[in-house]
Amino acid sequence: MSSKTLSAPHPLKTLLRLPFTALVAVLGFVNRLRANRAGFIGFLGLLAYFIMTFIMPHFIPFDSEVNLDEIAGPVGSRIQLAVHRDNAALRSFEDLAGKTVGVVDQTGGPSLIAPYADSITIEKYRWTSRRAGPGIRAALVDLANQEIDAMLIFSKTVEEVRADSSDPELQALFAEHVVISNSELGPPHLLGTDTQGRGIATHIVHGGRILILTAVIGGVISTLIALVVGSLSAMIGGAFDAAMTALSNLILAVPRLILLVVLAGLIRFENTLFLGLMIGLLGWPPLMRAIRAQVLSLRERDFVEAARSLGLSTYHIMFREMLPNMISYVMINFIFAITFAMYEQIALLVLGLAPIDDYTWGVMLYFGRSRGTLYNVDGASMALSPVLAIAFFQVCLVLFARALEEIFDPRLRAAV
């Protein structure tokens, strides 16, 4: 109504005013959202996800440093400082000035101590194969014999070496001479390490963007198709309706598994986002049928009948009378379409049916599961972190959807 009274202003003027109008709209929306606590939490959660997956990756680099002694390490594990019992006073890098400190390559120690290379004498140990006897053990023996003064070593490794009962003599030697003087030397791995000893936390930060974009693309495409096809089918009926119903039946009735195996084999995805396109193109039928049923049902309602008897056009009836009545349903289903696209792409990844290229949460979960981390309490983080990241994302979406539903549904608003 209001747009008609605003007798078409200068296009440029509208354009200039757009950001301002948008800002006002967003602020108003957020304000209204605050009244709905769960929805607000969902909104904040989504905002946090946006910041985490779209902004933080620019500041936090992806941890690609392989640490061979801390494969699938527990949450919070960090590098410790091991010293000889006589040197228990050595606690920080400053204390170590002038001393000889042992580090084993490929364990995170060398890069941690590198900045202090001027003041500290660094004794490097080569990581040999664990079968041939690890460099860690050689370093610890040197430490026990005071050939080096201190040693940088991962917390879990210390526990492992101490618990290793295969060589009681060494165990006794370590127990007698080696102590941990500082268990918090290095930065902690907030979410533990993966099967290559890399920090999982940074992978979580980097692993969401593509997944979320793909899910949104899938959701948008399937919702748009469902909305257009569903309402047109219901309004036009006839051959179009029959054809679309048949098409949706066909898409639904051919097992998804087969379709995707074939498509993944035939099409070489240059970009993971194509997966979203595919999911969207195959995902519309359920919602389309629901919308079709909804429109058929709305068609019989009084206000539509009234509009029709007034001789209003189909276009008017659809967009002015029906759409506002379906918006809550479409909105909540749009959100569900996103969650479905998310679920679907991760299921594909987990089943090994989607091509793996980007290192996303889904790929982490897939690798984490296939590399057995779920069966190891210490290492479970590699699979559980992405699972929780995905699950909370979905929860936020659903909470947000609830809020949208209450804000946009005119009938609900009237009732409040």
Binding site: V261, L351, V398
Partner: protein, 367 residues
């Protein structure tokens, strides 16, 4: 006014592509005037279309049954490619070079004689026997999980709508959001790892399979008890994974209906709450869910794939997945035939009974 619906449906099938081909015949024998016959024919056509698409699609999958078995043997046993090929090639009734179209004609011909053929990778084993072996378990486990989840979801969703904005609503939406968010295969793994292994609540080994070895399938207490016991974990998983979405859908739908005029009218008429809930709100709120339900029933058979693998509860999903993995084309076709028939006929059923639930459509039906 109300007959418009029926007219539209009549028109639709006359012009739709496939039926058009038969129109000359139908002019002579006006069977198409019979609504039920026509709907049934459409269903058959859909199944035929699905089978045709599947027939050609499965043969586009990378690798053929021979290649797949060769790779399997090469991975498991230390023999050369040549040896593996010699051993495998002769043990299949499968000629990768046979004309695709001839195979298709044979296949359709056999189907018309109600013969689903034999498996490629187990030459000589009839597919109908394999399906009879696997299908009942999925129908039982995933089916009952599905029903429990639907009924629970309806009840919980309605109560959420009635107690909107209460603590109960908030708690339940959080829970349902979480249930919806966590994929079903993760639920399965979590059940195995948490209660199964870490806390030792049940014997992981004994819970596997569909029933205890040594029991004779039949209507005896030991067998039925064992079957229920073994199905429990898949059922729980399935309920957990689908409950959330039913709850939310039902809540959103009920909320809409609660604001409808006729509920207010009913209230104004002084009808008892219980009657409003069941006769008015419940029935109308379930309507949008009915479309979802009919579609979901069609998915029941195929939806258990990963869960069946995780719990070693081998039903139809396992059968289909296995057939796809080893590229056993004929078995895949057999499984798809069952899947698509279930799907199409459950939809047909839903369409035909739609009127019984929606009073507005019912009037159309009665006319």
């Amino acid at each position: 006014m109300t007959s418009r619906n029926a007219d539209a449906q009549l028109d639709s099938s006359d012009v739709s592509g496939v039926a058009g081909a038969l129109s000359t015949l139908l002019v002579k024998y006006p069977l198409h005037k019979n609504y039920y016959l026509r709907v049934f024919a459409q269903a058959i056509l859909t199944i035929w279309a699905v089978l045709t698409v599947t027939f050609f699609l499965v043969r586009q999958m990378p690798g053929n049954p021979i290649d797949v078995l060769i790779e399997q043997i090469l991975t498991q046993e230390g023999i050369s490619y040549q040896e593996a090929y010699d051993r495998v090639a002769s043990s299949f009734n499968f000629d990768p070079d046979a004309s695709l179209f001839d195979q298709y004609l044979d296949y359709i011909g056999d189907l018309l004689r109600l013969d689903m053929g034999t498996s490629i990778t187990s030459p000589g084993t009839r597919i109908i026997d394999e399906i009879a072996r696997f299908l009942p378990w999925t129908l039982f486990a995933v089916g009952s999980g599905f029903l429990i989840s639907f009924v629970l979801g309806i009840i919980l969703g309605m109560s959420m709508a009635y107690y909107r904005d209460s603590a109960l609503d908030h708690a339940m939406s959080l829970i349902s959001s979480f249930f919806t968010g966590v994929p079903n295969y993760i639920w399965g793994l979590l059940i195995i790892i948490g209660p199964g292994i870490s806390w030792n609540w049940f014997d992981v080994g004994a819970a596997r399979g569909t029933y205890d070895p040594g029991l004779t399938p039949g209507l005896n207490a030991a067998f039925i008890g064992s079957a229920i016991e073994h199905a429990l974990l898949p059922i729980i998983t399935y309920v957990l994974a689908t409950l959330g979405s039913w709850m939310l859908s039902m809540k959103s739908s009920t909320t809409g209906v609660l604001n409808d005029d006729y509920v207010n009218v009913a209230e104004a008429r002084g009808l008892k709450d219980r009657r409003i809930i069941t006769a008015y709100v419940g029935r109308n709120a379930m309507l949008p869910l009915f479309a979802q339900l009919s579609i979901s029933i069609g998915f029941v058979l195929g939806s258990g794939v990963v869960i069946e693998e995780i719990f070693v509860y081998w039903g139809f999903g396992h059968y289909l997945f296995q057939a796809i993995t080893v590229r056993d084309y004929t078995s895949v076709q057999g499984a798809v035939l069952i899947l698509s028939s279930t799907f199409v006929f459950s939809n047909l059923f839903a369409d035909l009974t739609y009127g019984l639930l929606d009073p507005r459509v019912r009037i159309t039906g009665e006319k």
